[in-house]
Amino acid sequence: MSTSSLPENDISGHMTGSRDKAGDSTRALRAQRRAKRSGMLSQGFLSIVTFLWLFPLLYAVYTSFRPFSDTGGSDKGYFSLPSSLTFENYTTAWSDASLLKFFVNTLIIVVPSVILVLMLSSMAAFTVSRYTWKFNLFFLMLFTAGNLLPQQAIIVPLYRLYLAIPLPEFLSGSGTLYDTKLGIILIHVAFQLGFCTFVLSNFMKALPKDLNEAAMLDGAGVFKTFWDIILPLTRPALAALATLQVTWIYNDYFWARTLQTTGDEKPITSALQNLEGVFFTNNNLVAAGSLMVAIPILVVYFALQRHFISGLTLGATKG
C-alpha cells in the first residue's frame, strides 16, 4: 500500500499540472500519513498473530524448564510464575524414555532414505525430462499421482505384502520385511520418489536443450551425460529437496506406526506415542520430551531456511 499510493499521487500531480503546490503537498502529506497508519496496522496485526502462533511453543519451553513440584505437584498449578527453573526434565526425559536409542533409529532410517530417493528420482527425472519418449508423460503422471495418494489408501494391502516378503534373518528379526528398518526405508523411498521426480523433472526441463546434444557430440553416453553434465547443474534443486525430505522422513509417524510393532526399533517421531505411558501425567516431562524431538528439525529449519522454502515453492508454484 505504502509503495503504490505515493507514486500514484505524484504522477496525477504532474499530469494535471494546474494544481497549486500547497494542495499537492497536503495531498502527499495525507497519503504519507495514510501509508504510515496502514504500516502500523500491518505491524500490529502481524505481531498479534505471531504472538498467538509462538505461544504454544513458548509455553512448552516454559513448562519444560519448571520442576514438577512447582506446577502439577503444587497448588499453584501450571498457570503461574516460577519459583525455580531446572534443566532436570530434559535429563530425566532423555534417560527414562531412552531417547538416544530412538534417535539412532531415526538416523539409520533418514540418511539412506534421503540419499536413495534423491539418486533414484534424479535418474527418473533425467530420463523423462531430457529425452523424447512416448511414455514420458505416463511415468510423470504415475509418479506425481502416486505421491498425492493418502498413505492410508494403500496401507491395508501394503501391510499384508510386508508380511509376505521374506528376508534373511540377519536383516530381520521377524523373517519378513514387516517390522524392519529396511521396510520403512523402502516405503519412504517409493513414496517420496513421486514428489522428487516431479520437482526435479521440472527443474531439468528448464536447462538448455543443447547440453544433451553437445554431450552426445562429445561421445558421452546417456549415463555420463546425466552424471557429469545434468546432475551438477541440478544441485540447487537437490539441496532444496534434501532439506525437505530430511524433514518429512524425520517427521513420519504413520509408516512406522503401521509397519513396525517392536517398540525398540521405532524412529523417534513414532516412539513419541510410547512416551505418554512413560511420563504419565507429568506435563513438564512431556514438554521436555516433545521439544527434544522437535529440536533437530528446528535446527535444520533455521540453518537451511532458504533451501527449505525454495524446495517447497519449486514443487508448488513452478510446477
Binding site: P56, M123, A124, Q152, A190, G221, F223, Y250, N251, Q273
Partner: protein, 314 residues
Amino acid sequence: MKSSATKLTDSDDLMTPKAAPVRRSRRRASDRLSLISMVGFPAFLHIGLVWIPALLSVILSFTRWNGIGGVDNIEFVGIDNYKSITTINTEFVPALTNNVLWLVVLMAVSTPLGLLLAVLLDKNLKGGRFYQSALYMPVMLSLAVVGFIWELIYSRETGVINAALGSDVDWLGNQSINIWAILVAAIWRHTGYVMILYLAGLKGVDKSLKEAAAIDGASSWQAFRDVVFPVMKPVNIVILVITTIESLRAFDIVDVINGGRFGLELISVLITRNVGGAASRVGYGSALAVILMVVSLVPIISFLSTNLRKEQAS
C-alpha cells in the same frame, strides 16, 4: 572406464565413416538400456509399493478376509463391504463428517489468513523475516509432536487454558467440542504452509503490473483483486490440492490424542484399525481405503490436468 571406451570408438567413427552406422546403433542400444534402467528401477519400486497396493485395495474391497490363514481364505463377497459401511457402521458418518469439517475449516480459515499474512509480509515491513520464520515454524513439526504440544494447553487437569480461566472444560474429551480443539491445532500448523506458498506467488508477480494498476488509479484492494490475484491462479490450485490431501491424510494428531475415538473419528483412523491384529477385517478396511482413494482422485486429477496443460504448452 566404459565411457572412455565409447569415446574411443566414436573418434574411430570419424576416421572410418563406413563402420559408423553399425557402431552408432550399438551405442544407441546401450544408451537405451541405461535409459530404461534409469527410469525402470525407480518406477519398479514406486509401482510395486504404491500402485500395486492401491490396486490390491480395490480388489480386496470386494472380499472378506480376516487376514489369518493365507490367501486361500479370501472369499469374494461383491459389494457387501460397501453396503455395510453405509448401513451398519455407526462410525463411518461421523468420520466422514469430521474429514469434511477438516477440509472446510482449513479452507475457510487457513487460506484467507495465510493469504492476508503473505500480502502483509510481501510489503517488506520491518521485522518481516522474524514474523515469517515464527509463523512458518509449526509447519516443520510433525502432527504427532503438534498433538503433544497442544495437549499441554488443552488437558483438563493440567492444561493451561483451564488453569488460566479457572474452568473445567474437557477440551479433548467432550465429544461436541474436541474436534474443534484439534482443528485449532491443525489450523496452527497449516496456515504457515499456505502463507509461504502465497508469498512465493506474490514475489513472482511482476512489479510493473502492480505499478501500472496504481497509475491507472486503482486502489490497493482493486489492484490486488484484478491484477495480482488472477496471476496467482496456479498457486490457488496448489493450495486447494494440498489442503484437500492434508485433510484426507489427517491421522497423526488424533492418533496421538486418543486413537481417533470419542468424537475424533476420521476415515484414515477407521482404515488403520483394520490393518493388523485379530479384529482386523481386510476387505472392509480396503473398501474404506477405496472410498478415500476415489475422493483423493479429485484433487489429484485437478493437479495433474493443470500441469498437463503446461506440459502441452511448452
